[in-house]
């Protein structure tokens, strides 16, 4: 029997649009997380779901070419971010993980609250993206 070539045009076209929305919302969640619902964990999960939509719509080879990242490494980078954020406060003589924040005025964005909790959240974000995608792709690759 001739293998049927699937025609996923609808899905692929929509996927390009959807991931734009999902990715930007995930970044919003990551940044909002300090004072509002959201944070590194949820943001990370949402980002990895966006990338997964791509994997579902296209095939694994294409996406691997488009995103040539080893997701395991992302976990390492995330862990480094999270742990080093805590160490910074130790350098100033405060207890580990003590957080600092202040308000800055940045052109275009206006007044913004910058916190040291953000790099920590970024670390969590990377760890979640890395581990979620590693787990799912490892299971998916079994089915070759």
């Amino acid at each position: 029997m001739k293998p049927i070539k699937p025609n996923d045009m609808m899905l692929q076209t929509l996927a390009r649009l959807i991931i734009l929305v999902v990715l930007s919302f995930s970044i919003y969640l990551l940044l909002a997380g300090h004072n509002n619902p959201g944070g590194g964990f949820i943001g990370g999960l949402m980002t990895s779901s966006a990338i997964l939509i791509l994997y579902v719509a296209f095939d694994m080879k294409t996406i691997k070419k488009a995103i040539p990242i080893d997701f395991v490494k992302i976990i390492g980078i995330g862990l480094l971010f999270a742990s080093l954020t805590g160490v910074v406060s130790m350098l100033f003589g405060y207890p580990y993980l003590k957080q600092f924040f202040d308000y800055f005025t940045i052109p275009i964005l206006g007044e913004v609250e910058l916190t040291t909790a953000l790099p920590f959240d970024l670390g969590v974000y990377f760890v979640v993206v890395g581990s979620a995608l590693t787990i799912i792709l490892t299971i998916a690759e079994d089915d070759k």
């Binding site: 490494k73 976990i75 390492g76 980078i77 862990l79 480094l80 742990s83 207890p95 580990y96």
Partner: protein, 494 residues
């Protein structure tokens, strides 16, 4: 200054993360992890000394005041455990350099190893019950990784049971924590201890105490929750089996000692003197009977972990300063000697290619150093006088008789005898008799492998001959933990 006590958790964390990035470079991984573990060992010696000289150190993480924030507490008991665990961790790592296959090393062996150390060190240092759960999980998840590492069929099958029992225990753990939060309204261990003393709630507290006891008993391999241990420790390579055998069950025992001296001391007559002592007796007896029935080097050692965990818990159950000091001394003795014995099992496996005692023989002729080192540690385990095993069993059994717990003291003596029997069994089968390994196997060099084990053998002797200063130290640790006010005052600063 106070930040010093979080370094045993943060340093392996950072280095572990870097090692993930260096996954394919084995030499770099070995060097980095070797330096890290040696540094941790030095640091934990330093911590033990300054805590001994200047008293408990408390760190309020993130500058949130106790009891609202999380505290990291280094008191005598935790620094003592920290020192031992990093000693065992360092030695097993140097042994792993030579024995673990390169294909395994590439599969994140060293990052997992360091993450395991985060969990262990964190569990010893934390002063917060929920945090204890978190560090237990860190340790367990890393240990799941290490126990299936390499992925042979046997390992997969046995570690599945290991994972299931631990997940079940963790679920119970979190339920118990919720319960204790409902009763006392706090998670800080010092604060819980304070509230427990104020509340008149023996019934509810006993229930939670038992729930937590079941959790820690399944991690520490007490009767009747030890069934997973002998088989799952049989699968992984010797360095990992030694690390697990020396370290992991003792984290469970540490948690029992900590919670049952600090928090659940409201009904000692029931929880300690009846329940814990009874369970300790069964643990010792069934562990040693299991060992006697085995004919495999590693399995005998695994069953002996169970019987010896019983001694430690028995010391806690009798609950006099002498008995608790004995239990603490026993932990030190056990971690050192048991790790060494597992590593010896690894060395003989390297030579003969098997751990089945019936297929071994005559190693004394071809590898005399190995044989005599093994002999010293084995008789130390069995409790022959000038060595460490004797001085750890003696105070426990003595205080058993003093307190009128004759049955358990009798059981402990019998178990000591049977331990001697199975150690002699290993020695006579594997080292005496006709040589059963080939000439090529007889010329396998083991000197390099014995090098990392040597400090442990030396310590087993030192712990015996210098028993007095070390026992004085354990007695101080025991008196410190048996008066919860010390811990509470230094954490809550009242």
């Amino acid at each position: 200054m106070n930040n010093l006590i979080i370094l045993p958790i943060v340093i392996p964390f950072i280095i572990g993360a870097i090692l993930i990035l260096l996954a394919k470079r084995i030499t770099a991984q070995r060097i980095l992890s070797g330096i890290t573990m040696s540094f941790l060992l030095t640091l934990s010696i330093y911590l033990a000394v300054i805590v001994y000289l200047h008293g408990t150190i408390v760190l309020e993480v993130g500058n949130w005041e106790a009891p609202f924030g999380i505290v990291i507490v280094a008191d005598l008991l935790s620094t003592f455990m920290l020192l031992l665990s990093n000693l065992v961790g360092t030695i097993c790592l140097f042994f792993a350099f030579q024995t673990v296959a390169e294909t395994r090393e590439k599969q994140f062996f060293y990052p997992l190893y360091l993450f395991l150390m985060i969990g262990v060190n964190g569990a010893f240092l934390t002063g917060d019950l929920f945090n204890l759960f978190v560090f237990f999980e860190v340790m367990l998840i890393a240990s799941y990784g290490l126990i299936v590492h390499g992925g042979t069929g046997y390992q997969l099958r046995e570690s599945f049971k290991y994972v299931i029992i631990n997940i079940f225990a963790s679920a119970l753990f979190i339920a118990a924590i919720a319960w204790i939060y409902a009763i006392t309204g706090t998670m800080n261990m010092a604060h819980i201890a304070e509230r427990v003393a104020e509340l008149d709630q023996a019934g509810a507290l006993n229930f939670v105490a038992m729930l937590l006891f079941v959790v820690f008993a399944s991690k520490g391999a007490l009767f009747p929750l030890y069934f997973w241990l002998p088989r799952s420790y049989f699968g992984p390579p010797a360095a990992i089996a030694a690390l697990f055998g020396g370290l992991l069950t003792k984290v469970g025992i540490y948690a029992i000692i900590r919670t049952f001296t600090l928090m659940f001391n409201h009904d000692i007559g029931f929880t300690h003197k009846e329940l814990i002592v009874t369970i300790a007796g069964f643990t010792m007896l069934f562990g040693v009977l299991g060992a006697v029935s085995q004919f495999d080097f590693k399995r005998i050692l695994s069953y002996h972990i169970i019987s010896q965990v019983g001694y430690m818990v028995m010391g806690l159950g009798i609950f006099t300063p002498l008995a608790v000091a004995g239990a603490i001394y026993y932990i030190a003795h056990h971690m050192i000697v048991k790790t060494a014995l597992f590593l010896f099992a690894g060395v003989t496996e390297r030579i003969t290619g098997t751990t089945d005692l019936k297929k071994m023989g005559g190693l004394l002729g071809t590898h005399p150093w190995l044989a005599w080192f093994f002999f010293i540690t084995a008789v130390s385990l069995a409790g022959i006088p000038p060595l460490s095993g004797f001085f750890s069993k003696f105070p426990i059994i003595l205080s058993g008789f003093e307190e009128g717990q004759y049955v358990i003291a009798g059981v402990a003596l019998l178990v000591g005898l049977l331990t001697l029997f199975s150690m002699i069994k290993i020695f006579s089968y594997a080292f005496w008799g006709k040589q059963k390994h080939t000439k090529e196997q007889a010329s396998v060099p083991v000197r390099k492998l014995l090098l990392p084990i040597f400090p442990l053998v030396a310590l087993a002797i030192i712990l015996g001959f210098a028993a007095e200063p070390i026992f004085t130290y354990s007695l101080e640790v025991a008196e410190d933990i048996m008066d919860p006010a010390n811990y509470i005052d230094s954490v809550l600063k009242e």
